[in-house]
């Protein structure tokens, strides 16, 4: 037994989760897939007094594809999202990003909400949420509130969710332009590891090949996943020539503040940020053109 002792409760419903969180507050942690929390507990980086297991709550596990968005329950497993064709058609970035997340065994347990709440700045799903402007529905005993990704991610491994709140569902905006393309790419030490730097992009063009909307972002390049709405807005109206795309990617890289560690210097990460942003934008552009 490697984790420090804790009390365990398997919640059967969301209202039970809220009641347990209200009672135990800061001492309690929600246990979803456990693919990040359990290792952290094994290393005793966290020692919660209570674990509230939310794996057996049916209302937290669903995928609903609607007209202008897709909704996923927070405890929906990554493997389920990865395999859903309707979701992949409406929000393709999710499946594209999941190809880089962990391995078969971890995606079988890992959940969408767990990745977002863990808020690792190098992780793939938080980057997708930031780029698409996903909205998080949080529930506590006193009701619900919705936070945009930008407000939700507050720092490295930190979110604005209160200790009495449970992430209930995530709303992923779906773009309705016919010629929409997206792409996800990253560099990591080994495939399946957290990214050294990751880039995600989504582009929509009109019938003449002019950009009507663009969004892109970078992971591993700051304390939270980063999106660059102002730089992306400059792409609108252009034909997305390589020079324009490279200029946008370069501008974004300049804005990043990556850290240095054993694997890569800040300078190298900033270099990767520019290269990968351009790569993701170009790939998204080609997919938009071919639709």
């Amino acid at each position: 037994m490697k984790a420090a002792p804790f009390e365990y409760a398997r919640a059967a419903s969301l209202s039970e989760v809220c009641a347990l969180l209200a009672t135990h507050g800061d001492g309690a942690k929600l246990l979803a897939g456990g693919q990040s929390l359990v290792p952290m507990m094994a290393m005793r980086l966290v020692r919660p007094a209570w674990l509230v297991d939310i794996n057996e709550i049916p209302e937290l596990k669903f995928i609903a594809v609607e007209k202008d968005m897709a909704r996923t329950g927070a405890c929906t497993r990554q493997c389920v999202v990865e395999r859903d064709p309707a979701l992949a058609a409406r929000v393709p970035l999710l499946r594209q990003a999941l190809a880089w997340v962990g391995h078969v065994q971890t995606r079988n347990r890992g959940t969408i909400g767990g990745s977002l709440v863990h808020a690792d700045p190098c992780a793939e799903l938080p980057l997708v949420a930031q780029v698409l402007g996903a909205r998080m529905l949080l529930r506590s005993g006193s009701g619900t509130r919705t936070l945009e990704a930008e407000k939700f991610f507050s720092g490295p491994m930190a979110t604005s969710a209160r200790s009495d709140e449970c992430l209930e569902e995530i709303h992923w905006p779906a773009w309705s332009w016919r010629h929409t393309g997206s792409a996800f790419t990253e560099i990591s030490v080994r495939h399946g590891d957290f990214a050294m730097v990751a880039a995600a992009a989504q582009i929509a063009i009109d019938g003449d090949g002019r950009c009507v909307r663009a969004a892109f972002g970078l992971g591993g390049a700051g304390g939270t996943p980063l999106a660059f709405p102002k730089i992306a807005a400059r792409l609108v109206g252009t034909r997305l020539d390589d020079a324009v795309v490279n200029d946008a990617a370069h501008s974004a890289a300049i804005e990043t503040e990556p850290g240095s560690d054993l694997h890569a210097s800040a300078e190298y990460r900033r270099h990767l940020a520019g290269v990968l942003a351009a790569r993701a934008l170009c790939e998204a552009r080609e997919r938009a053109r071919s639709r």
Partner: protein, 164 residues
Amino acid sequence: MSGTLHEISIEVNGKLRKAQVPARLSLVDWLREDLCLTGTHIGCEHGVCGACSVMLDGEPVRSCLMYAVQANGHRVATVEGLAKPDGSMSVLQDSFCETHGLQCGYCTPGMLIASQALLNSNPNPTEAQIRDAIGGNLCRCTGYQQIVEAVQLAAKPAAFPLLG
């Protein structure tokens, strides 16, 4: 407060097993220490090496990243559950022997679970699909080539006329 025991009832390799466990007991520790199913190996104990892979409700997962109490009411299959009812090796296990898909054997139970899970859902995988399926399992002996060949042999024995 740490003394609380939880009742669990888990189907392991087709047999219902009941126990009382502390919440912090990992699934792999329960399988090895309490049920003496030592075929499942413990490597890193934080979800990196894949040696502890087992099937949970038919899907491969890391048993070091689950507490035993979480598996309550579920189905677990370990490497011991792969053999045929008479105790002889499965087709996949035989293939590992044939192609020399193991040396020290530490990663083997995890490799067998990962590749059996692949073959269950995809009986005719490509080499890329095999490599993806075992991508979460570390082997320091074989260089992976013979493991890939073992899975290919199990899927398509006719492609290896000199073996078997």
